[in-house]
Symmetry: C2
Subunit: 326 residues, 2 copies
């Protein structure tokens, strides 16, 4: 049986090619360093999930124009700008298996190219001529930086709740994916009901996506996903599996777990110890259940549309979020 | 006789108070760190020249609404975001006599709050409901980051021409001041002719402003302007006085000047030596002449408006650019 990934790529392969082209076209006339740093971050293995979701959301709402690929680049540019700035914030050295850009070009160029991509994305969006779309984008990027700031303030804090966590991932991840789907619907001049359905789909998919990503940080190996194992723990970022385990641990275990969280130089042994604690208190299976719940919510939103290849692909994309981590 | 500064403040004192209030109001509901870092950069001695220009530009074009102060905050937020990110780019330690924010809150918070202010400014602008205004803002911020990137690429390069320099200051400074004046006119539903006049006024004022600022970096003392003397030279930034002098120097002097530019650790003695070279080749008086030229162009643009207090104040503001450096 074909894997989910293959089935998705089979149905959207042509879209992905056109999205790649749009990403390049909209960046080309700009200054050398911009396109250098910009291209490096944009063309080093991203999955284009955000532009793809915009294109499919427009399509399921009946879009018949030819500007969808062009506008879909907006969401990859915003995403890339965030990656550039987050790498400075996190002090990360590796992303998707490559050295991060600030370790190659330095903080200055990385900050400025991030700014450029952000402005370029808004500038591109003005071409759609819709204040409504621009408002969604501006509010989204404002929320994204607030989410990152909140996450920064929460660092090393063992008392953050599942609610705090949800608030952060809503802002830093779900918000942009929701915007991609919502804007796709608006481009297609969708009905209110369709708009809401796609925004909800994007929101739930985004939440599931981030929970799965945070799970992956515990279970994935560097080779496959281009990320060091246990990056979040190393940076003092508490994610759902750990938050759930902390909430259910005995006083003694909790104390030890907090000591590991606060250790600024987490060893592999400490990481493994933490994995065992999380396992013991059901943190991984809880997080998986939550991710499944949001995937199922996302799929429910699609039910107002009549069956079609596009609906099927959107549904497969939701499932794929889960498969990544299994 | 009253100084220019006093005359300007007398005529716009009430506007400045309302601008201060708008800057605070539009920031208030946000996260603690955002308003902390945001306030620090926003409320540590800025001159509010950009919001003030927007308000006066709207007024001279007959604006009669009550949203001008609110929207004028956009231009101070964008300016503040740029300052935050530039301080990281420049590695500066002091701005306006105070330690810069990244030395207090660190790069992460500084990057993210800059991002937030940028997004917040676009978000605020969407309330005006004009795609035209949003396009100007997005193009402006994109140009600003390109200008900064270009300046970064030009560092330590003794071969940059006056034209290269003009290109950089157009993007990094004039563009935003032009946008403030242009958007003021659009808010007032000005005629095409008035719109163009105010955009031209802003552009020329912005160019003069940056040339004067670059001159100040050579002639000002730290006490009065909160800047270390010779910061640009220290950072390998070639500005107009030096570019002009380099272009007119003998081969021998030029060689020595280039050696000073390339020295990454400029001493006070080297700085003084450079000041003498620039003096010898008329770099300072040339830059002053250029600044005067652009101030006079700015004032010419105002001639399409009938005489009024507002026109007088805009004219005084142009003169004030020059007085700062005399």
């Amino acid at each position: 049986m074909k894997g989910l990934r293959d089935r998705i790529i089979e149905s959207v392969g042509e879209d992905l090619l056109q999205i790649e082209k749009a990403l390049l076209d909209n960046l080309n006339p700009y200054l050398p360093l911009v396109s250098h740093v910009g291209r490096y971050i944009l063309f080093s293995g991203g999955k284009r999930i955000r532009p793809l979701l915009m294109v499919l959301s427009a399509r399921i709402c009946g879009y018949s124009g030819n500007q969808d690929k062009r506008f879909s680049a907006i969401f990859e540019y915003i995403h890339a700008a965030t990656l550039l700035h987050d790498d400075i914030v996190d002090g990360a050295e590796i992303r998707r298996g490559n050295p991060v850009s600030h370790s190659i070009w330095g903080n200055p160029a990385t900050v400025l190219v991030g700014d450029f991509l952000l402005s370029r994305s808004i500038s591109l969006a003005t071409e759609a001529g819709s204040v409504k779309i621009l408002k969604i984008l501006a509010d989204t990027t404002a929320q994204m930086s607030e989410g990152e700031i909140e996450q920064l303030l929460n660092r090393d804090n063992p008392d953050i709740s599942e609610l705090d966590y949800m608030e952060v991932i809503k802002r830093k991840t779900a918000c942009l994916i929701q915007a991609a789907c919502h804007v796709g619907a608006i481009l297609a001049e969708a009905t209110q009901e369709q708009e809401k359905a796609m925004a909800d789909y994007g929101y739930n998919l985004g939440i599931a996506f981030q929970i799965a990503d945070d799970l992956l940080d515990y279970v994935a190996s560097t080779d496959v996903f281009g990320k060091s194992t246990g990056k979040d723990l190393k940076e003092g970022k508490l994610t759902l599996p750990l938050i759930h385990a902390l909430g259910n641990a005995t006083a003694e275990d909790r104390e030890r777990m907090i000591a590991i969280v606060k250790d600024s130089d987490t060893t592999v042994r400490e990481f493994e110890e933490m994995v065992n604690f999380i396992e013991k208190y059901g943190g991984f299976s809880y997080a998986k259940d939550r991710a499944r719940h949001f995937v199922s919510e996302a799929k429910k939103s699609l039910s107002i549309f009549k069956p079609s290849n596009t609906r099927e692909t959107l549904s497969l994309l939701a499932d794929y979020v889960l498969e990544r981590e299994l």
